[in-house]
């Protein structure tokens, strides 16, 4: 029996040495690690002084030191084609993330006035950048996600400081942690002072509607609201959705002096559609036993390009096609990349972001492969490439079906799609995350239970507190899942050392 935890220092996630994956895969993995180092070096070279200043200015920035560690934990146990697709996708994620971080610092007025500051349109929450596509001289930059979600993937200690700030000013601890973190960053004045304007929005839920209002009070640039309809399957909401998109474009024109360029816009939409079509291909492989896509990085790649690229990052399509090529070869050769898999499980609901590698752990410890998770199904709207109104409506639809919004709004049936998706991806298990502050999902908990019983499905709930590992630790999440695996699934762990271990102090 494997003894993977031996490789780590006690109480942490720090490995004593790299994972041995056999000669070929270890060498490949090492090379990719060097490539990641290269991406980080390129990042630092973009504006060394401002980036170093940023590291000292912003508390959240420190979390990104764990980037390489995050890559390692998300690729743990992967071999062959699965390892290759994971690294290809991860390089694109790193390239994109470091690019946005560098842009944030380069345009940050805190480090001195710069014309670069006005070249950015800030998008709050998970609002994707398609709406800025018609402005080739401008770039979309996310507000909140860099300072919360992405950072928490790397360092579980990033968010608690900001959430505590909100609790100190009176926000209940039961409020959504993602929104609380973002609001705490605003209260602490920890957002870079960058951008010509900010688009706030109601993505995805009640708490984000409200934290946007608080954040807006602390941001010093012109702001407007993109109020996206909630009942998005109802065609009668389309006219209003389109009007909202047009108002946002007019606002960008008014605040930046730039003019909307249709040609440039459609060029990005074409790229957006390529990204979506690539995703559909990924799903087809993921449904098979010969998939090279699984566990955590593939869904992460989807969430990344949905939120940050939207057709604006050409290397996303390149990386996706490269990974698809690997997957195609594996499928043709009937290569079982996930050879430890005993069960296939779809995960649904809001995950514990401080345990980004939960799927990887479930695979290595229990032989449970996750070929699909909820966020993969968000966005994925094919946008018109020649009709402006249709395209703008397509962008609105993409927002309406965005991360978390796709399943938590517009009707209860969307969250309950889990059973159909589980069927499509040939999953015999369903994991629903009980994100203890996510009211939209919790409002249907009983129905999910009832349906699991009616459909005779293996359903496991795993509680988490999204950004706050202090409430429900990673080990507690592991304990809940392991208990189900032994008590209900009657399984023995593949690696006993991974069942119960302490990594509370780790990144």
């Amino acid at each position: 029996m494997a003894d993977e935890r031996k490789r780590f220092y006690k109480g942490s996630g720090i490995a004593k040495h790299r994972e041995w994956r056999g000669l070929k895969d270890t060498f490949y993995d090492y090379l990719q690690w060097v490539v990641n180092l290269g991406i980080l070096a390129q990042f630092a070279a973009k504006s060394p002084v401002r980036i170093v200043k940023g590291l000292f200015e912003y508390r959240w920035f420190g979390g990104y030191i764990g980037a390489l560690h995050m890559t390692d934990k998300c690729t743990a146990g992967l071999r062959g084609p699965a390892l290759r697709t994971a690294h290809i996708q991860m390089h694109a994620i790193m390239k994109g993330t470091t690019g946005m971080l560098a842009d944030s610092m380069i345009g940050d007025r805190r480090f001195g006035d710069t014309d670069a500051a006005d070249k950015f349109v800030m998008l709050e929450q998970t609002m994707c950048p398609e709406i800025v596509a018609g402005f080739p001289n401008l770039k979309a930059l996310p507000l909140e996600v860099l300072q919360g979600l992405l950072g928490t993937y790397m360092d579980q200690n990033l968010a608690p400081f900001y959430m505590d700030i909100m609790e100190n000013v009176g926000l209940p601890a039961d409020s959504c942690r993602l929104s609380a973190n973002a609001a705490g960053v605003a209260i602490n004045d920890d957002y870079p002072e960058v951008g010509a304007c900010l688009i706030t929005n109601n993505m995805p839920c009640d708490s984000s509607t409200m934290n946007s209002q608080l954040i807006e009070r602390r941001i010093k640039i012109p702001t407007t609201v993109a109020g996206i309809p909630m009942r998005w399957e109802d065609e009668s909401t389309d006219r209003y959705a389109l009007a909202q998109m047009k108002e946002v474009i007019k606002f960008i024109e008014d605040t930046t002096g730039e003019k909307f360029d249709e040609k440039a816009f459609f060029k990005v939409m074409k790229q957006h559609n390529k990204e979506v079509r690539n995703e559909f291909e990924v799903w087809e492989y993921a449904k098979t036993p010969y998939t090279a896509f699984g566990n955590v990085i593939s869904p992460l790649f989807h969430a990344f390009y949905f939120t940050f690229s939207g057709g604006s990052m050409p290397y996303i399509d390149k990386a996706a096609k490269k990974a698809l090529k690997v997957a195609e070869k594996a499928y043709k050769n009937k290569t079982v990349s996930f050879d430890k898999a005993r069960h296939r499980m779809i995960t649904w609901g809001g995950p514990g972001c401080y345990f980004v590698d939960f799927n990887t752990w479930a695979y290595n410890c229990w032989g449970v492969l996750v070929p699909a998770q909820m966020d993969m199904f968000s966005g994925n709207v094919i946008i018109s490439e020649d009709d402006l109104d249709d395209a703008l409506l397509g962008i609105a639809h993409n927002y309406e079906r965005g991360v978390m919004r796709r399943h938590l709004t517009g009707g209860y049936q969307h969250l309950l799609e889990v059973w159909d998706e589980a069927e499509k991806f040939n999953c015999d298990m369903v994991l629903v995350y009980d994100d203890i502050t996510c009211k939209g999902a919790m409002g249907l908990a009983g129905v999910v239970n009832d349906q699991a019983k009616d459909k005779n499905k293996h359903l496991v709930w795993v509680q988490n507190d999204m950004f706050d590992h202090r409430t429900i630790s990673r080990n507690e999440m592991r304990r809940q899942f392991s208990e189900y695996m032994t008590a209900v699934m009657q399984e023995e762990p593949l690696d006993e050392s991974l069942v119960d271990f302490d990594d509370y102090e780790g990144w």
């Binding site: 009176g170 929104s179 409200m210 009942r231 009668s236 009211k439 919790m442 009983g446």
Partner: protein, 398 residues
């Protein structure tokens, strides 16, 4: 003061959703239309042949079923509504109108569909859910009006043959305005230094006007207004502080009673189920359709924190400040139903703004739906009243 003649009668009407008058209206062949949120215009549910019932769950002792379906981490009000609906407490309804304006509320209402509630009693029963904008732009008003047409009027016409013509809506507005006149006049009396109506009594009257068929309750409300006009007040008012209450849903007059017991006179009820907003006249402008007037009225008067545009954010604060001035209030109480995301942030920002920016004494309180935590609330309210009194003694300094 002498007790109001019909107070006990009004209190009895609030003991259950399917009260005596609701039963009478149903026996008259009228359709009972349920709703909970202000974004579902009450006036449109009072078209000919129909009557509105703003749903409450009085006497809730536990929410076991609601908690099973929605967990114990969601709004207790919506869980109570779900509990009551599962128990069959709303089986008298002909339709339920809702909006996806609050995650937990609309989830609770979705169970009417998921579980097929009420359908057994009334196969024609339906749930209709609409979309409400987050801003107040021109497009937003148009959108809201379209939603009202598509999700309220058209289903009513289709299923129950209700007359939804402009003329019918104008008639409903006329009747609605009569109720608003009565409640508003009663509410205005709270501005007096020694009001002839207690805040508890007002709360009861306001709730009765929302939870009973208006055509059946109007006479008694009018009679009560006449009684209050002539009511002899006590020589000295028996409150220690005049407070504006704002926040999420409050549908239990016992809560106002608790405040009164702590020496508070609630001068203004700016919360869900309150009269501010809610009982303002609907004005139909020249050349405007009745439906347009309804849409404009409800979107512009709503003080819901889900409105994100800056104008509305500013308006919410200035409206509160205006209430404090108009009603000569000593302070503001921000209430938040436990687990309510909207009011949790609004409370944080509002309490800060009132205390630090406007210099108006203000506290923020989280509450359960039932009065289970009355003891803790009492301590908070008493302390707040004392702090206001100390401020007064110190000539305005805290």
């Amino acid at each position: 003061m002498k007790d109001l003649k019909h107070l006990i009668y009004f209190e009895d009407l609030l003991q259950e959703a399917n009260n005596e008058l609701v039963k009478q209206a149903a026996a008259d062949g009228k359709k009972a239309l349920g709703y909970t949120c202000y974004f579902v215009p009450e006036v449109l549910l009072n078209l000919g042949g129909c009557f509105s019932v703003r749903l409450r769950a009085p006497g809730t002792s536990n929410t076991d079923i609601g908690t099973y379906y929605m967990t114990n981490k969601t709004c207790p009000f919506t869980r109570s509504i779900l509990e009551r609906s599962m128990e069959g407490g709303y089986n008298f309804l002909s339709a339920m109108f809702s909006s996806e304006t609050c995650q937990m509320m609309h989830r609770a209402h979705e169970y009417f569909d998921i579980m097929g509630l009420v359908k057994e009693q009334n196969p024609d029963f339906f749930l209709s859910m609409m979309d409400v904008p987050f801003v107040t732009t021109k497009a937003a008003y148009e959108h809201y009006e379209n939603q009202l047409r598509k999700h309220i009027l058209e289903p009513l016409e289709k299923v129950y043959g209700v007359d939804i013509s402009d003329k019918a809506i104008r008639a409903a507005i006329g009747e609605h305005n009569e109720i608003c006149d009565i409640i508003s006049e009663l509410g205005e009396l709270r501005k007096l230094p020694n009001p002839p109506i207690t805040s508890y009594e007002f709360h009861v009257l306001q709730l009765v006007s929302e939870c009973c068929p208006q055509y059946l309750i109007k006479d008694k409300l009018l009679e009560t207004l006449k009684e209050v006009r002539k009511r002899k007040v006590d020589p000295k008012p028996n409150y220690r502080a005049r407070i504006v209450v704002t926040g999420s849903e409050v549908d239990d007059p016992a809560f106002t009673k608790l405040l009164e017991d702590c020496g508070v006179y609630v001068v203004a009820d700016r919360y869900c189920y309150g009269s501010l907003p809610g009982r303002e006249q609907i004005e139909i402008r020249e050349g405007e359709s009745a439906l347009t007037a309804v849409a404009r009225h409800y979107l512009s008067t709503s003080e819901c924190p889900r409105f994100m545009n800056k104008e509305k954010q500013v308006q919410r604060r200035s409206y509160l400040k205006q209430l404090v001035n108009d009603y000569d209030a000593d302070g503001v109480l921000y209430l938040q139903m436990k687990f309510c995301e909207y009011w949790s942030y609004e409370r944080v920002m509002g309490v800060h703004d009132m205390n630090e920016v406007e210099g108006i004494p203000c506290i923020g309180v989280e509450k359960e739906y039932t009065m289970a935590s009355a003891g803790q609330l009492r301590t908070r309210f008493q302390a707040f009243v004392e702090s206001i009194e100390i401020k007064k003694l110190q000539g305005g300094k805290m």
